[in-house]
Every structure is written in structure tokens, then in C-alpha cells.
Symmetry: C2
Subunit: 403 residues, 2 copies
Amino acid sequence: MTTVLQPFPYAKRVPAVTPMGAAQASSSSDVIPFSYGTPTSDAFPYDGLKEAALKAILDHGRDALQYAGAGGPQVVKEWIAQRSALRSIDVTTEQVLVTYGSQQAIDYAARTLLEPGDHAWVEAPTYFGAVSTFRSSEALITSFPIDEDGLQVDLIEKALEEAVRRKHPLPKLVYCMPNFQNPGGVVLSLERRRKLAELAYQYNFFILEDDAYVELTFTGKHLPAIYSFAPERVIYLSTFSKIIAPGIRLGWAIGSSDVIRRMNTFFQGSKASVFSQEIAAQLLQHLPFDDHLEALASRYRSSRDVMVDSLKANFGEEVSFQVPEGGFFIWLTFPEDVDTGRFVQDAYERGVSFIDGSKFFVRPEGARHARLSFSYCTEEQIRRGVRLLAEAYQAYQASRTAN
Amino acid sequence: MTTVLQPFPYAKRVPAVTPMGAAQASSSSDVIPFSYGTPTSDAFPYDGLKEAALKAILDHGRDALQYAGAGGPQVVKEWIAQRSALRSIDVTTEQVLVTYGSQQAIDYAARTLLEPGDHAWVEAPTYFGAVSTFRSSEALITSFPIDEDGLQVDLIEKALEEAVRRKHPLPKLVYCMPNFQNPGGVVLSLERRRKLAELAYQYNFFILEDDAYVELTFTGKHLPAIYSFAPERVIYLSTFSKIIAPGIRLGWAIGSSDVIRRMNTFFQGSKASVFSQEIAAQLLQHLPFDDHLEALASRYRSSRDVMVDSLKANFGEEVSFQVPEGGFFIWLTFPEDVDTGRFVQDAYERGVSFIDGSKFFVRPEGARHARLSFSYCTEEQIRRGVRLLAEAYQAYQASRTAN
């Protein structure tokens, strides 16, 4: 028997390092967590969940605890289909796939659309979890900048024309967050939505429309989803993580029956937790959802306001940012020569965490930016956290002047 | 704007057809379901789950409903590590990865180990869900027969020697179910476990040891896991689906810290449903687990006995089978010229479902076999189902004689 262990040639698709993620969020730390893209635990519908869980177990458990589940999964799909109409998305339940959070929907979409070596285009900045997932499908990634109206679709169009001219490969998917972009906080304009949809038909790529934050609008306004302009070439994603609770791990994908059927094959005949879906179904049937959402949006709007005021008071002209009209994040821009990665550790030691800008880019750029989340903290924590952040920034600036 | 939709070149890894799976199991059908590999709903610990869910929501909800969860996931891992010692598996919690059922563990293992074009070796017959998952990693599949002592490891050894001699590619993984194999019902002998482990070191492949049914032993006997003989080259899988309930979708993988870290990257910083894990943790802390298991095993042992008796009474010498000492399945062997696929539809119309043998093979073979599950049905259903199956078989034989 061989006693020396030979090295094993693992698949190249395995990421070399553990990706950053939300799993660290916990109320047990003393550090004020501006880094977490997580909802406030204050807003979870505990009573509703309790009643829903009891119903799921005691009234429907014989089926809800089996592989196939009881009626819950169908109720959830119907709710999603109906709710999506608000975004001008007109679908049947066959076009809805419920997944373990939208992270799994991104994975299944990537594996459905991308061969190793295919090209995926993303926003700059963008959500690192999606990039990491595209990489695990061995895709090649290119990024395109956003501005105050979201992804600069004119640059996408130019790049597509250029690729055709030079016979370079076209993208198989373009990943885009149209509402309250993570981390930029911006909303993709109506005109750009239409244009991007048109390009998807013309150049035959899929748009992966990640709409995790859509329900958390502070103005009540809704633009039509990109999906509504290109239903055969958009996979639309959203999640219950921000509107019920992340721990139940339920998200969804909407697409053509064809692409949803293909994505569904990765479930190998199974479904996303049917027991959690039964709980969600019971909750959705009994929760006054509009009131619940209004309370959520109101809470997050206040938190945003407190953070905006604190930033102005503590940083003055040193940072600029667009005030987000929904979602969880404020995206800071510091003066050009600042590298926020240089004071992230000091800030942490002072008692506040945030994510430095370069983490949201696929190329080495974005060091002057920082993402602050106002979603998880109390107003008191937000005020204190911004003060601590300003102290860390001032110490960083002082050390640079001294050198 | 282009109005004619171009065909989209989907990734080759997407299976062409929806795989067979357990999702169809539901108590609402009138057909007696010998086809379902599902536990009986009678055995779910409803009261324990109710208490556990209330604790998870009301006592631990602030964290348990967040991305990272409360203490539950760690409790679950500790329980798994301790319980695994019964199988001579000696591990820390860093070597345990909790997944959405063992199906996801198979997927993450396949994606970690297999490049497109790599070889995976499986048993014949084997579990179709695993084969389908290996195919979605674009692996090439070869199968090796089982006998009454499980996988014929001597044939694996010969094939490895042959591959070296002919400079053919060696497998990257060998997929094996050592206890109460699905569908064969057999147990891999101790000697073969040792030998397979030795070959894994010698030829540098991983063994994917799928031990879904291990707790459901009718004799109380436990052999050491293959893992115990080759901890650096085995990924061991099991699940709560058969011992708590499938609907909560929790399984696990055990391996070296290195391979578990790699598999974990596919979670992209997330975890398998932390809320379901909190419920499982609360349940495991309060359920008298040995009593629960004993009741389960006793129930399934009786069901097996009833099915064995019914088969003997209705089929006499027409079918042969090994009486399984655990698990859910009886694997029937009919006379050589029988094709069970020819009466599966008639049986269904008469009121009993089963899975015809060829579904469990990767090559066109196995038509004389059939898998019957005794796990989901009442004893009354089992007696009636076997009678209906015998009628369908007799009608099939009569129609052949007539032609």
C-alpha cells in the first residue's frame, strides 16, 4: 500500500480562495457592521413565522416534510408570478423556479448559459458573489462602468460592435442589477433597460437581471423590469432574503419555460426546501404584505437618512455619494488618491466595519470607493459608526501627510 | 430591432431531459408507490419539530433567520462528527460540510473533483441521481457490477491495472454506496472496503461514499466506513432525509479539511439553510435519538418482512432477491428474458408503481430487474401492491405467450 499521498488534480473550476460572503453577519460582534448586506433582524415577521411554521408542521407536515412537499411550493410560485406583474412581468408558474436564495439561481443560470471559456459581462462595480459564481463556471469576465443612471449601456453597445468587427467572442450573458444596484445604489434608466433588451436580441446574449432589492423602494416607484422588454433573453432573479428573512434561503428565477426547464434539471428531480416553502406560503397567505413592506421601507429610509446626515456632518466635502432611493447601500467616493483598503483594518479596530471599494471590481480599480450598508444597524449605531469611520479616515490622511 | 429569435447555444453540461427524482412522492395519489425512495410520513417527529421550530424562531430567530445563523449550524456539525464515530470516522467539525440534502453534496463533490472529460466509475446498478449529477459535470461514466457483497472491487482493480497498461485515463472518482445499496440493498464487505480504500491511494482517485441509509439497519450492525481506511481520499456523504425528514433538505459531506474547504467555496460565503439547521439542532438536542431510530428501524423491518412474504406468496420462484438488512429497497431479479419496463405502465394502471431495472444502469442492461421500495407504504398497501404487481406480471407473461 502506498504511504506517500500523491497530490490530487482538483477541477480548475474550484475557486482558489473562499469567496467573500454574507455568512459572517451575526449580532454577536461588538463591531458596527456597515459591511453586512443583511436586513435588520428587527424587521423579521416573528409572529407570522411562528404561526406559519406551526401550520406547516401540524396541518401540512405529512407532505410538507416529504421530498415533494405539500401545497406550499405552488402557492409560493403563484405569489411570485402575481407580485412580478408590478414590474410588468407577465408569467405563468411554469416560468418560475424557486431556489436556495438568488445565489443558487445565479449558479444555475451560469451553468445553464456558460461553457468554460465563455464570456460574461458585468457592471463595475458589481456584486462579488455573482462574479465568483461565474468564475466557478470558468467564464471570462469583462466589466463596464455604471453612472448615476446605472450600467452604461452605450459602452456595452460599442463593445458588442467592436467584438463583431474584430471577430472577438460575444458575451453569453450580461449581469445587471437594475434597481438600487449593489454596491452603487443606482437605478437603471428606462431608456437603458429598453436598449439593453434590444441588444440581447440583436447579439443573442442573455441578461441576468438581479433584482434582489426591488421591493425596498423609498419612493414607491417601479420601472418595468428589463425582463418585460426581452422575455426570451432575460433571466430575472429576486429573493425573499430581504423581505422575509435570509435564513429561510429562498429566492427565485423567472424566465422562458425553456430556460427554466433547463435550470431546473440541476435540482435532479428535487426542489428547494419544500418545508421552508410551506412556511413561506403560510406566511404569505396571512401576512398583510403591503403593511409589512411599508414598515420595512420606512425603517430603511430612516436609516438611510441618518447615514446620509452623519456622512455630511462627519465628512463634509471629503466624500461624495448619490443618495440611494432604495436598497441597503451607500457607495462612497473619496478623493482620487485615497485607498480605502488602507484604513479598513484601523476602522475595524476602532469598532466599525465596511467593505473597501476594490472588492467590487474585477480589475484592479475602485480603491477610492467604499460600500457602507445602513440596513442592519440601529440609528445610534449608524451615527457612531460613521464617526468612527471618519476618525479612521482622518488618521489615514494624517499618516499620509506625515510620510 | 431583430424580431426573429436566434437559437441560443446553451452549455453542454445541461442535461437534455429532466432527471428522475423523488419529487413526485406525495400522499395524494391513489397508486401504491413502491417507486418512491421516501421515508414514511408516519415516522416524522412532528412534536419534536414543532417545539424545535418554536425555539428556532422565538428564542434564536434574530440570528437563526439571518444569513449566518445562530448556534444551530455548529450544533448540527458536532452531532454529525460525534455520530460518525460509530462508523469509525474520526473528524473535527472543520471536516463536516452541511448541504441541501446529500444530492447537493454529490454535486459539490463532482464539481470539485471532475473536469469535463474526466472519468467517474459507478456501481451497476446505481442511484440515477448521482449519475445525472456526474453528467452535469461533463464526466464520462463507466460502471462495474455489484454482487451480494456489494461492488466487485476485484473488477475495479483489474480495470485500473488495465488502464495503466493501456495508458487509458484513470478515474478521478469512484461512487459507491456501501450500506443497503440503492437499489441493490447489499452491504459492501469489510475486505472490499479496505481494498477499495487501498486502491484509492495507489491510483490516486477519490471515493464518493454515499451512506444515506446507514442508520436504517435492521440488525444493529455497523461496519467501519470506507472513509476510515482512506480519510484523505474519501468524501463521505449522508443525510437527515431518512432519519428526520426529507423536506428540511439537510445532508452532509465529510472529508479532509482541504477537500471540504474546496467544496465549501461553491456556497459563495453562504451556508445551507441556517434556519432549517437551527430547527434540526433544537430537535437533535431534545429528541431521544436512539429510541427514535429504533422505532424507525423496527417499522421498516416489519415493512420489509411483509413485502418479502408477499413476494414469496405471489411470485413463488418467478423472482429472486436478496433480503436486505436495512434501507428501503428490494431489488428483484426476474427470469432472463423478462423486461420489467414492459409492464410498468400496466402495473401503474392497476394501482401500483415501481421503477424498472434499466433505469439504474448507465448502459442498456438490467431490464430483468425491478426496484420496489417498502419504506413509504402501510403493510396493507404493501400486500395489495405486490398482488397487483403479480397480476401485471402475469398479464405481461400471458401476452408474450399469446404472441
